[in-house]
Amino acid sequence: MATPRNAGGGRDVRRWLNALAARERRFSSLAVVAGVIVTLATLGQLGLLARVISQLLVEQATPASQLPALTAMVGLLLVRAMALYWQERLGQLASLNIRSRVRGELLDHLARLGPGWLTGRHSGALASQLVEQVEALDGYFARYRPQLALCVLSPLLVLGVALWLDWLAALFLVLAAPLIPLFMALVGMGAERLNREQFEAVARLSGHFIDRVRAITTLQLFGRSQGAIAEVHAAADDYRRRSMRTLRIAFLSSAVLEFFASVAIAVVAIYVGFGLLGYITYGPSPDLTLFSGLLVLLLAPEFFQPLRTLAQHYHDRAAALGAADGLLAILEADPDPVRGADAPPTQAPDALLELQGACVTQPGRGRTLGPLDLCLMPGEVVALTGSSGSGKSTLLQLLAGFVGPGRGERRLADGTFFAWMDQRPLLIRGSLADNLRLAAPEASDHAMREALGKAGLGERVEGLPEGLETFIGERGVGLSGGQAQRLALARVFLSRAPLVLLDEPTASLDAETEALVIVALRALMEEGRTLVIATHHPALIAMASRRLVIEAGTVTEVVHG
């Protein structure tokens, strides 16, 4: 994963897609086999159709004598329907397995990259990638790839039969055959261009719409709602006019394909007709019979059908290429090599955590912290201060192991685990109890109430009709910022972690909540826990037994006066 895949500019998106497909080769090959069976059944069925007609009209057979052939045709129809069903199902299964695996790999990789990598990235956008971009691979694996193989195989089979029937008629198809790659390129170019331009235009238009919706309050406040509605309509209409210009050209490519398919039928029909009348005496024409003539006619549309189907699925390919580009960008991010490795035990007796000569380097930014020596003893309260961007959060992440020391060492006393709290506490959709149990899955109701009490939320929760089972909506709907912060604190109490890392726990809180949080933190300190707090708050700094000042990645300890 660490080797750069983007050597030479663009990422090798196609290679990645091929590699994904290779792992599900079994299903996709079976899908192609089913597709070939469909073609064979079609050939058999059309052959029987031509034969039945020929028997009736030329050989003057009675309708009843054709019943076995008709029965066989029903049988072939059933085979074809079943093969069609499985062709589609197998493609879907391949796609489903691939998507599920890609999503799993992305999640694993994100877990390896860790919270350090995630800071500063938009989690909503990432989540959308994991949902939509992975789903966008569907059509490509389910339909496009099997059809690509069938696009070569099926016409060959059809051509073989046509050749056996009448080589001149087959020649019309053969003449079209070298054109097929040309068609594909043509269709491809058209579709590619169409897709690219449409994608961009659609994105721009959606962007415009979303932009106006975001600003809707302001538009309301300035009394401009009506004008904005007209503008939204005008923008969409303008987009229509511009995109119709592109579409006029883009649709031509598929029209060409359609034209050749139609003309092939027409040419074969007229050639066969005139041949049967005896107007053509060249080559195999005099040997044409109603049977061979009809069958050749019926084969002509089948010859072009796979290509037409492929053209319909072409946008799946474009969508997959676009999505793969975004997904590879995540998979190519290199995880911190030190992350996940077990930290060696501390050397000083009683020490909880030690840093020795530890540095943090970040890609593109160089060294952002250190070198730094630090020894945390049980029960200590350490305040980290310094202007924003100086490296306080990085130091906390280093202590937590979210980022590894690029150089130097982080040592951890055996069995030390930690609790974490930052300005944006995690709130999951579920009950208050669900949110608390994140920290301690087995916690009893009593323990949870106690923890809420210590965090200053006890009364509020007791007053709720559903108590601990009160449901919190998505993204903490129903909780104020201060309440969310105290809920996260309750989790810290519940976790019993000896080491507690806090990133600006009182930022953006009102004075009253702030006071409650400080009381709670004091209670944590009195429980004998080790606290490391990145903060500007004078009360918290005063509470600390040690104070580290960080400026531009350099740490100096200030001795309390």
């Binding site: 159709l49 007609i53 009736l56 009209l57 009675t62 008709l70 029903v74 329907a81 069903y85 589609e88 199902r89 489903l96 999640l107 994100l110 877990a111 919270p115 989690s123 990432l126 989540a127 415009h208 106006r212 919706v213 309050t217 302001t218 538009l219 309301q220 406040l221 300035f222 309509h233 969409a236 209409d237 995109s243 579409l247 139609s262 003309v263 027409a266 074969v268 029909a269 066969v272 007709g273 049967l276 009348l277 003539g293 937590a400 979210f402 685990f417 930690f418 974490w420 709290m421 930052d422 995690l426 959709r429 509020r460 998505e474 104020s480 910022g481 309440q483 989790r491 009102d510 009253e512």
Partner: protein, 578 residues
């Protein structure tokens, strides 16, 4: 508030959108006619070719047997060439025309829904500003946009083709027409209604399952630090896997339904062909039908596959369209509930000129689902020309007070008055004219500086715009821009710094002449020098107007808004004097 319509039928959910489509019924009819023409050409091409080959074959045999026979070849030959060309041309025109229609419908839909959104209150809007909600909205609009081209037109044209073909065949052999037509009709019913029924529930759930997955993923990614610290990653991953499994189960089911429908469509066309052949054979044997016509009937049935191919996938996923329609209907219903009473245009009480007083009397505001009211029995009065600072932490309720006065929210109980007139009685246009606000969130359009300023004053001359920029001290910066006033500010104003965006929003206020000004953190994101320079100019402009400042806390120095007469503090929705 969002009324539950789970028992509403599919048709009821789609009705508003069908009537929107009906506004363009002329275009829809022409588009469908082009589709039908394409299909007729395809059927005609294969059927006539079959007839022609059989006729020539039989004539050839007669000729070979020495019988004098004659076949007129030029009309059928010309017919075949005509169908070959008309199929191509009508297909091309059909695609072009129908895409044009779809894009027109998109414009209609967007404008209509935007209109709906402008009628929502700020609480409903704040939730709907999140990017995932917006993405879903645009996706829902797109889903409904394809209602015509994906569902209505193919189903209608297929039905038309079945009836038309049957009628045509009935001219020669009514029994053939009746038999195969009936079979195709039954098949059509299955491929549309039957498939829809099969996939309805699952396809309707798909969006929700994708949303659930997205929601969980956001939680997991945002809270990864805590999850990793508490060692809960594996547990959360298992929960995620369960959601994923639900999603995949639905997809497997839908995939199986679509595959079944496609296979059945194929089988149906084959069987219809065989039935037509068999019945035509009987007619031929009875001497009622010529050989070439018999062949033509079978081949015409084969060509029907083109009419039915698109139906199974589209109708299996009908539930997705239903879901989209329901969500949008819910939004419309929400906008139509009298959350924001809009008084009739010009009629209304006499409205005071000059500085406006503002009054909250025992106002309580409760958001649905919140643990505690956002405002709890708040009463306050702002005298004309007074400057009141309302302090409090985020979430204390000061923004809610602003939204109430701006009529972006209505209180759960209590009364609001503006200039001694009940706020609810103010005509919309007058309210917007007389009350101006600098909101906490600065909304800038992804448009030019000028366009953003002209939001406040559409008729403003360029000089006035420059004047407003000078007032906030942005004139020097704007003059330095190569494109000046037509410089685009980027999405959400991202090409500007936070301070510049705030000053631009202030410049917008300057272009108006309000009697009440609500300023939410006017100096947030500004440096001390700028704040200081701006404070004196703001002070002058605010003279003769009533002002409500909403601030986190009152600090001294440059960040203190100018000329505060009185300050009140809100704590968790309650007023405490200070």
């Amino acid at each position: 508030m969002a009324d539950h319509r789970s028992d509403a039928t599919l048709l009821a959910a789609l009705r508003p959108w069908l009537s929107l489509l009906a506004l363009r019924r002329g275009r829809l009819a022409i588009g469908a006619a082009l589709l039908a023409l394409t299909l007729a050409s395809a059927i005609g091409l294969l059927a006539l070719s079959g007839w022609f080959i059989t006729a020539t074959g039989l004539t050839g045999l007669l000729l070979a047997a020495g019988v004098a026979a004659n076949l007129e070849v030029y009309v059928p030959g010309g017919g075949i060439r005509f169908f070959a060309v008309s199929r191509t041309v009508s297909r091309y025109l059909e695609r072009l025309y129908n895409h044009d229609t779809v894009l027109r419908l998109l414009a209609d839909l967007r404008a209509r829904l935007f209109g709906v959104l402008t009628r929502l209150d700020s609480q409903a809007l704040s939730r709907r500003r999140a990017s995932d909600w917006l993405n879903r909205l645009t996706a829902d609009i797109d889903t409904l946009d394809s209602l015509y081209l994906r569902l209505l037109a193919p189903a209608g044209v297929a039905l038309l083709a079945i009836l038309g073909l049957s009628a045509f065949l009935a001219l020669f052999a009514p029994r053939v027409a009746l038999g195969s037509g009936a079979l195709l009709l039954i098949g059509w019913l299955w491929l549309t209604l039957g498939q829809a029924r099969l996939g309805l529930a699952a396809s309707r759930r798909q969006v929700n399952e994708l949303e659930a997955l997205r929601g969980r993923l956001v939680e997991k990614l945002q809270g990864m630090a805590e999850l990793e610290a508490y060692g809960s990653m594996a547990r959360r991953r298992r929960e995620l896997a369960a959601i994923e499994e639900r999603l995949y189960r639905g997809q497997r089911r839908l995939g199986a339904c679509v595959a079944l429908g496609n296979a059945l469509a194929n089988l149906l066309v084959g069987l219809a062909m065989l039935l037509a052949l068999w019945l035509a054979t009987q007619a031929w044997a009875a001497g009622q039908l010529s050989g070439p016509l018999m062949v033509m009937m079978a081949l015409a049935m084969l060509a029907m596959s083109e009419a039915l191919a698109a139906l199974p996938a589209a109708f299996t996923w009908l539930g997705a369209t239903w879901g989209a329609a329901e969500r949008l209907n819910e939004l419309e219903a929400r906008a139509e509930t009298p959350a924001l009473p809009v008084s009739a245009g010009l009629e209304g009480p006499e409205l005071p000129a000059g500085p406006l007083s503002a009054e909250l009397e025992r106002v309580t505001l409760r958001y649905p689902g919140a643990l505690a009211p956002a405002l709890d029995d708040v009463s306050l009065r702002l005298a004309p020309g007074e400057r009141l600072a309302l302090c409090g932490a985020s979430g204390a309720g000061k923004t809610s007070v602003g939204d109430l006065l701006l009529r972006q929210l209505i209180p759960s109980s209590g009364t609001l008055r503006l200039g001694r007139v009940a706020l609810a009685a103010w005509p919309e246009a007058a309210l917007r004219q007389r009350v101006a606000a600098l909101t906490q969130r600065i909304d800038l359009l992804d448009d030019s500086l000028a366009a953003n300023l002209r939001l406040a004053a559409p008729e403003a001359e360029e000089e006035e715009l420059w004047g407003a920029l000078a007032w906030v001290g942005l004139d020097g910066w704007a003059e330095g821009l190569p494109e000046g006033l037509v410089t685009r500010v980027g999405e959400g104003g991202q090409r500007l710094s936070g301070g510049q965006a705030r000053r631009l929003a202030l410049a917008r206020l300057y272009l108006r002449d309000p009697g009440l000004v609500i300023l939410d953190e006017p100096f947030a994101g500004l440096d001390a020098d700028t704040a200081m320079a701006l404070a004196s100019r703001l002070d002058a402009w605010l003279a003769g107007r009533s002002v409500l400042y909403l601030v986190h806390q009152l600090q001294g120095g440059p960040f203190r808004p100018p000329g505060i007469d009185r300050a009140l503090t809100l704590v968790e929705g309650r007023l405490v004097s200070s």
